[in-house]
Amino acid sequence: MIFSGIEILFFTLGVITTLAIGTTYYFNKKLTFTAGTWATLGLGIFLLIFCIAWSCSSVLEGEPRAASMGLVVFGIPGLILLLLGRKLAIKKPISKQV
């Protein structure tokens, strides 16, 4: 065994984090996020990355139930926040009716 799993996990987390930051920055350039959007997306991304980290670590330590619960407790709120963040990001400002 060259890698025990934990090294691959943290390397992958690094890649995912870099991509997530890059992508968020890219869309911010296009859409100009509000503070609320930043907070929602940031928390969503953090929770999803933490969910991956937690669940993979739980599998590696041999606790599958903890891994499943990690997906539920961290993953679902993370997904919801990401979707909400997306909605906030693409929402057009209501123009005044003339």
Partner: protein
């Protein structure tokens, strides 16, 4: 061909692929420069120091209140001794409790001679696992787990020259004393030696008479306490001939030197093994810990003797390991009565080395929120089938359990949670193993993974109500199950284990 750009908002400047790559490259360069400018060591040290400052309290004094009327116990003031050595206790005119004696006999009978191939965790193969686990303790430290000192490797003898009958023998106090440049250097070298010999945690504290047994009952004739290293001398044969209850009890006046320092070691017990509690597999995990306790402290004692100082190794004998471990900074007290260490939780066995060497930097007690967490958690109390563990919200100086009026086995005058050892030992007799359900269920008992350290740190920083929530989450996430047959299958399963190292 014109470059296609995504434009979601006409007012915003578009980011081309080239720009995006530039951003990515710049980020990578900045990251690399940033990381190389902060060495791994410096970053880890800074983070660790910050966390320690925030979450770990360092105490100058022993962090548990001790009442003025506290009296140190004798080595026979606990249920195991008065059960397994009932005849010796009676011989010196002390009382024994027939019920506890019967529990001990049932325990010994089942553990030593019984197995049941139809009962998961109690089969012949589990029994063999247990036997092998305990073998080194049984051979070299004998009854030390029950509190009997001066036996086998834990001998009090301080020879000053090599045994003439042995080709190799280093177990003697060297004439010339080694010196160290500083107390810190001495502490570093002693701790490194302990680690080399197999200790998982090690701390150094001053000898404290409060935690030493005030008297020792040892019914084993001196000649039978060690493997023969040559023919017995006439004096030894005379001593054996005259051996009797009048010589069973000794105290510190018979000890060969005045100890000044106690080196406390903790040994991790196998996580998967303890998770099988209660079973013979769980007891094997404890037994393997006891065998480590027999080996490592003796090696450290010989090391100290070769430095020119007197030293005696000890497992459960000589004194109370829990307060010594707290004093040496290895962990905190807990509801279940065991030390909860930062790295392994309560899943540790403790051992000690007494020495007259005192030019050494002493460790200080550290707390990281265990007792606060225990106030709310009560997972161990729920896990214990006999309800031997207190449900009191706050620790107390005296036992509060239903046997409190006859709780000669409880340490009175120390503010802690008092376990009803009588009930606990009864379960040992019923099961034929040494249970461990409280330890297995404790939320601090986790595999050594980063996310548990994180949760522990967050929990320590949070107020009381969060602790109850964390206890619930621990259960929901599937940790700390007891009486779980799946855990025994998991223990033996080769899945996720690499036996050949590939």
């Amino acid at each position: 061909m014109a470059k296609k750009e995504i434009k979601l908002n006409e007012n915003d400047p578009a980011v081309s692929r080239r720009d995006f790559l530039k951003i990515g490259s710049a980020g990578a360069v900045l990251g690399a420069v940033g990381l190389s400018s902060i060495t791994k060591d410096a970053a880890a040290n800074r983070l660790d120091k910050h966390l320690v400052d925030e979450l770990v309290t360092i105490h100058d004094e022993f962090p548990v209140e001790v009442r003025a009327d506290y009296v140190p116990p004798r080595n026979w003031d606990h249920v195991q001794y008065r059960s397994f050595f009932a005849d010796a206790v009676k011989a010196i005119g002390e009382e024994v409790d027939d019920e506890i004696v019967a529990d001990g006999q049932a325990f010994a009978q089942k553990m030593n001679f019984a197995y049941d191939d139809s009962k998961i965790g109690y089969t012949k193969t589990d029994k063999a696992l247990l036997a092998g686990a305990w073998a080194m303790n049984n051979f070299s430290a004998g009854p030390s787990p029950a509190g009997v000192p001066d036996f086998g490797v834990n001998t009090w003898e301080q020879k000053t020259k090599k045994n003439p009958h042995a080709l190799f023998d280093n177990d003697y106090v060297a004439k010339e004393k080694a010196t160290f440049k500083s107390k810190q250097e001495a502490a570093n070298q002693i701790k490194r030696a302990a680690k080399l010999y197999g200790a998982d945690l090690v701390g150094i504290t001053r000898r404290d008479k409060r935690w030493d047994y005030s008297k020792f009952l040892n019914p084993i004739p001196p000649l039978a306490r060690k493997a023969f290293a040559g023919p017995p001398s006439p004096e030894q044969l005379e001593e054996l001939h005259n051996w009797g209850p009048d010589k069973f009890v000794t105290d510190w006046s018979d000890f060969p030197f005045v100890p000044k320092t106690v080196i406390v070691m903790a040994f991790e017990m196998d996580y998967e093994g303890i998770s099988t509690s209660p079973s013979l597999v769980g007891s094997a995990a404890a037994g393997a810990g006891y065998s480590k306790m027999a080996k490592t402290p003796y090696q450290l004692a010989v090391y100290l003797k070769n430095l020119g100082y007197q030293a005696v190794s000890a497992g459960n004998d000589m004194g109370l390991s829990v307060p010594y471990a707290i004093a040496a900074g290895l962990g905190e007290g807990s509801r279940l009565g065991q030390v909860v260490s930062y790295k392994y939780g309560p899943r540790v066995r403790l051992a000690k080395v007494y020495t007259d060497f005192d030019f050494v930097e002493y460790d200080t007690p550290k707390s990281f929120g265990v007792m606060d967490f225990c106030k709310k958690c009560m997972r161990c109390a729920d896990a214990c089938p006999t309800k031997a563990i207190s449900y009191d919200k706050e620790p107390s100086f005296d036992p509060t359990h239903e046997n409190k009026d006859n709780a000669w086995y409880n340490i009175k005058g120390v503010k802690k949670y008092h376990v009803d050892a009588r009930k606990c030992f009864k379960l040992w007799g019923e099961l034929g193993d040494d249970c461990g359900m409280c330890m297995a269920s404790c939320p601090y008992n986790k595999p050594n993974f980063w996310h548990h350290r994180l949760v522990d740190s967050i929990t320590a920083a949070m107020p009381g109500p969060v602790h109850s929530f964390m206890r619930q989450m621990d259960e929901v996430f599937g940790y700390g199950n007891v009486e779980d047959h799946e855990s025994i299958k998991k223990f033996y399963s080769p899945k996720g284990k690499s036996y050949d190292g590939h």
